[in-house]
Each structure stands twice: as C-alpha cells, then as structure tokens.
C-alpha cells in the first residue's frame, strides 16, 4: 500500500510530467490560456493516461515481454519464440491512439455530460507525448499492471496540477503589466521555468518516503 502512496507522490510532485520530465509541454503551453479549458484538458488527460497506461501495460506484459521457459526465451501468450520488446514504442502508439478513439465512442454512449465536458480535448491528446511517456516509463520501471494503472492516474494528476496552476498564473499575467517585450508567450515561458524550479524543491521526497516506510516495516521507528 505504501508503495502506491510513494508512486503517487513521486508522479505528482517529484517527477511531475510537465515540470520535471518535460513531457506534454505542448498542451501545457497551448491550452493554458484560461482555467476553464485547462480543467477540461486535465480531465481528458487523467482519463486517457489511466486507461492508456493500463492497456499498454497489458500489451507489455502479455504480448511483448519474453519469458524464459526451460532455457528457451518465448512469448508464452502469443506462442512465438522471439523477443518482441523492440516493438514497444510503435505498439504503444497504436494501442493509445485506438484507445482514445474507442473511448470517444464509449463515452458518448455512457456519459453524455462527461463527453461534452471533455469535448475537443479527447481527440487532441491522441498523440500527446505524456500519455506515451507514462506507458514507456511503466515498461522501463517494470511496474505491474495495477501499478502501471495507478502510475498513469498519478501522472495525469500531476499534469492536471501543473496545467491548472499555470493557467491561473497566466490569467493573472494577462491583466498584469509585464514589460512590453515580455508580454504574452515570453513571460509565460519564464513563468514555466520558474514553476519547474519550484517543483525541484520536492526532489528526494519520494526516496525519503520510501526509506521512511521501510524503516517502519523493519521496526526501526
């Protein structure tokens, strides 16, 4: 259980997708003009990242990842005796893109208000690198399927936090008086840089938490 808590803190604060890993910077700058659209975008990203990470993890664990059975490397689920891990990126892209398409159809059927709320943002994030990034990081860190789903959700939350914070900052910047040469995008980029530096203050928090929980487990505390 503590493991999941550490994953959450790690993805939201310490290794924030936008401000520490610099993934998904395009929507971070493009859709942050006002808080309302930022919220729509955040909702869509959380939704797609959670489901996309889960699906990608399933593909990773049951199709791509080889297992050693009796000294032979095989993919037990597709009955092929070869290593398919080199197809990771392209198959993740395929899965995520079709996942978004599928989600759109299903959402329209199941929940009209949610579908209208997410609106244009859902198809927009088909090719968002943050979604693919979450799937690839899951594969690299060898998370289990449940861990991957949780990590995808947590990264989505981190993205939402950064996007909503930044959009409210930008709303204020719009009515402020920055010097003429800084007006608009330049001041936004500088603000983003400062925000990234602020999030560096969290670095080491997840490792600390991990050690803390380990110590409790071992009865040291």
């Amino acid at each position: 259980m503590e493991n999941y808590f550490v994953l959450l803190i790690g993805a939201v604060l310490v290794n924030n997708f936008v401000l520490a890993k610099f993934l998904g910077v395009c929507p971070f700058l493009g859709v942050s003009k006002n808080v309302k659209t930022a919220m729509g975008m955040s909702g869509a990203v959380i939704f797609v990242m959670t489901i996309g990470s889960a699906l990608a993890a399933v593909i990773h664990h049951y199709v791509l990842l080889p297992k050693e059975i009796g000294g032979v490397v095989v993919n037990p689920h597709v009955w092929v005796a070869i290593d398919l891990t080199y197809l990771r990126t392209i198959s993740f892209i395929l899965v995520i893109a079709s996942n978004v398409q599928l989600l759109e159809v299903v959402l329209q059927r199941l929940s009209q208000p949610l579908y209208q709320g997410l609106g244009i943002f859902l198809p927009l994030i088909t090719t968002n690198c943050a979604v693919l990034g979450a799937a690839v990081i899951n594969a690299q860190k060898e998370h289990s399927i449940i861990e991957s789903t949780w990590y995808g959700f947590a990264s989505g939350l981190g993205f939402a936090l950064a996007l909503i914070l930044f959009s409210s900052l930008r709303e204020r910047l719009d009515i402020g008086h920055p010097p003429k040469s800084f007006q608009g995008v330049p001041i936004a980029l500088i603000t983003a840089g400062i925000a990234a530096m602020i999030f560096m203050g969290f670095s080491g928090l997840d490792i600390g938490l991990k050690t803390f929980f380990n110590h409790i487990k071992q009865g040291l505390l």
Binding site: V80, L84, S91, V95, S98, V105, Q108, R109, G176
Partner: protein
C-alpha cells in the same frame, strides 16, 4: 522483420475491429437535423440566446421548437434559413446593443490617485474604490473588453474609458456581469438617444467629480416626460418608450445626452501646453488657428459664394436674406482671422 510486420498488422486489425464494432453497436442515435441546424448557427457560443452554447441552442430549436431568431449573432437571413429548415415561422427579436453609461473619461473626471495594480476593473475596485473621481463611472481598465467574445468593446488606454462599437456588438450581454459598477445595459439598437451617465449624485457633488455628469436639472425629463424619468438626480431613459426627438440633445446643459452609441462618442480634444485655441472665425472658414495669411485667403475664396444676378432673381425674399447673411458671416470671419494674434490665445499651462 516478418514477425514485426505480422505483429503490427494483426494488432492493427484487432484494434480496428474493436473500434468498428463499438462504433456499430454503441453509437448514439442523434437527430441529424440538430447537426444541420448547428452548422447554420454562427458557432460563437456566446450564450446570448439564453442557452449554454450553439449546440445546446440547436438542440432546443429542434426538440423544443425554440425560435431561431433568438440568436443575436446570426443575421435575419440565417435565422430565416434555419426557420425554413425546421418549418417554422421566424420571429425576430429586437436587436440589442451594449451601452456603457459613462462619458467621463479622465479629462472630464480626473484620476484621484495612481493605480499600479492588476489591470482589471474588478481588482481595482477593491483598492479604495478605484482611482476615478466619480464613484459611479467607467474605470476603463477593460474587464468588459476582455469579457466580450466579439471584440466589440474598445478601451481607450489614454482616456481610460470603454467605447462600444455598435456594429460589432450583438447584444449577448456577457459584459454586463463583468462590470463591477453595473453600468453596462442592453439597449435597443433603434433607440436614437442615450444618456451617458450613471451617477445619481446631486449637482454640487457631481460638478466636482465630473464635468459631464448628470446634474439632475430635469430639463430633458420635462421636455420628454413620458420617456425620461428622474431616478435620484439621474435622468434615465425608459427604453420601452425611448425618445426620438433629437432636439433633446440640445436641452442638456452638460452635453451628457448623446444621439448615438459609443462609436459617435467623441472624446474631448486634449489641451496640450502651448496649443492655440480655435475661435469661431476659424471654424467658419475651416482653417487651423495657426494658418498663414495665404491659407486664409484661399479658404475664403473657396467658401464665399459669388452670386450671379441670374441666381438672385430665382430666389425668394427669405432665401436672399439668408444668402446675404451667409456672405456677411464669411466676410466677417475672414477679417477676424486676418486680425487674429495667436500668442494672445495660447492655452496656458495647467488649463
């Protein structure tokens, strides 16, 4: 390599089959007419019709038989097209435009402090009631301008006042909520006369705050009692029965009644230090006060009408009198202009 191709092809096949099946069995039946009507609507999503946006309005038109004429943005033709598509008779609502009830720019109602905070009326109002002397007038920091989805409200940065462009304004009413002083109202586009003041103060106070504020003299209300009412020393037009008599404009001693909306609102000329005051004679001839003698001569030659005897014969007595008076006026102006000494009429510093 072959296994990669096979793998991707099969994955693609499976996923596309799933999507196709989902599309086939989960698709939502929507009325195609709603989409068609939505196409015909302007897509501005301004909410002026009373619905949350164009898609919601399109749905209401089809499902609840709402009038397409409610849309303030689409022109009569578009509403007509939608109405004939749905088989209804279009009913047009009277077009409305926003009116900023203030003409007190900072030359008329001066700033009483220096404000350096966030450039927004709703923020400024929290700091000791903002900087304009008049506590009811336009702050000119542009909250309404930012709220307008059609860029119909312009802020004059120097004079600090909001100016509505009635040909861009569609009357959606989004600006009304944005104004912290509640001084934007929707008025019928056809109303010819407006009172550009929002201050209910009494004359002695008002005079100190703004040179153009309504002083509550009631002259206009007395001339058009059925359409102008006094509300706490502020003349207010009843837009259910707006006045059409343009002579009302001349009754106002402070020039606060305007014949049209913001686009015709002309800010007071800025008096710069050392500028030369223009006199009546210059206006008659249409020359600048610092014009040279040659320029005045030329203007006089252009203005004066040489009356031929054949012309004079055709005139009746009244017209002859008029012509003589006109000629005399121009000649007099010419003489005055030549005798004009610019140095005596220079505006002094601080005036």
């Amino acid at each position: 390599m072959i296994e990669a191709v096979l793998f991707m092809a099969s994955t693609g096949m499976i996923l596309s089959t799933v999507i196709a099946l989902a599309n086939r069995f989960l698709a939502v039946e929507t009325d195609p007419r709603i989409e068609a009507v939505e196409e015909m609507l302007p897509g501005a999503n301004c909410g002026g019709c009373g619905y949350s946006g164009c898609p919601a309005f399109a749905k209401a038109i089809i499902e609840e038989s709402v009038e397409p004429g409610l849309c303030p943005v689409s022109s009569g033709d578009e509403a007509q097209r939608i109405a004939s598509y749905t088989g209804m008779e279009p009913v047009f609502s009277e077009p409305y435009v926003a009116l900023v009830k203030c003409c007190g720019d900072n030359t008329r109602s001066p700033e009483r402090a220096l404000y350096n905070g966030v450039n927004d009326c709703n923020a400024a109002i929290n700091v000791a009631g903002a900087t304009k002397s008049c506590q009811h007038g336009c702050l000119g920091l542009g909250s309404c301008s930012r709220a307008c989805p059609f860029n119909a409200i312009e802020i004059d940065e120097e004079l600090r006042i909001a100016i509505v462009h009635p040909n861009l304004c569609v009357g959606c009413g989004k600006c009304i909520e944005s104004c912290p002083r509640d001084m934007i109202t929707m008025v019928p586009k056809s109303a010819p006369i407006h009172i550009l003041c929002n201050s209910p103060e009494k004359a002695p106070i008002q005079r100190k705050l703004c040179t153009r504020g309504c002083i509550g003299c009631q002259r206009c209300a007395r001339q058009a009692p059925e359409s102008i009412k006094m509300v706490n020393f502020l003349a207010t037009i009843d837009y259910d029965n707006p006045p059409h008599d343009l002579s009302l404009v001349d009754t106002c001693p402070v020039d606060r009644i305007h014949t049209s909306l913001g686009i015709d609102y002309i800010p007071a000329p800025k008096k710069k230090k050392g500028a030369i005051k223009s006199l009546e004679c210059h206006k008659v001839l249409g020359v600048a006060p610092q014009a040279s003698e040659a320029e005045i001569n030329k203007a006089f030659a252009d203005k004066i009408v040489h009356y031929d005897i054949s012309l004079i014969i055709k005139m009746d007595e009244e017209e002859q009198k008029q012509a003589i008076m006109e000629s005399e006026k121009i000649s007099q102006a010419y003489k005055d202009c030549l005798a004009f000494d610019p140095s005596a009429h220079t505006v002094k510093e601080g005036q």
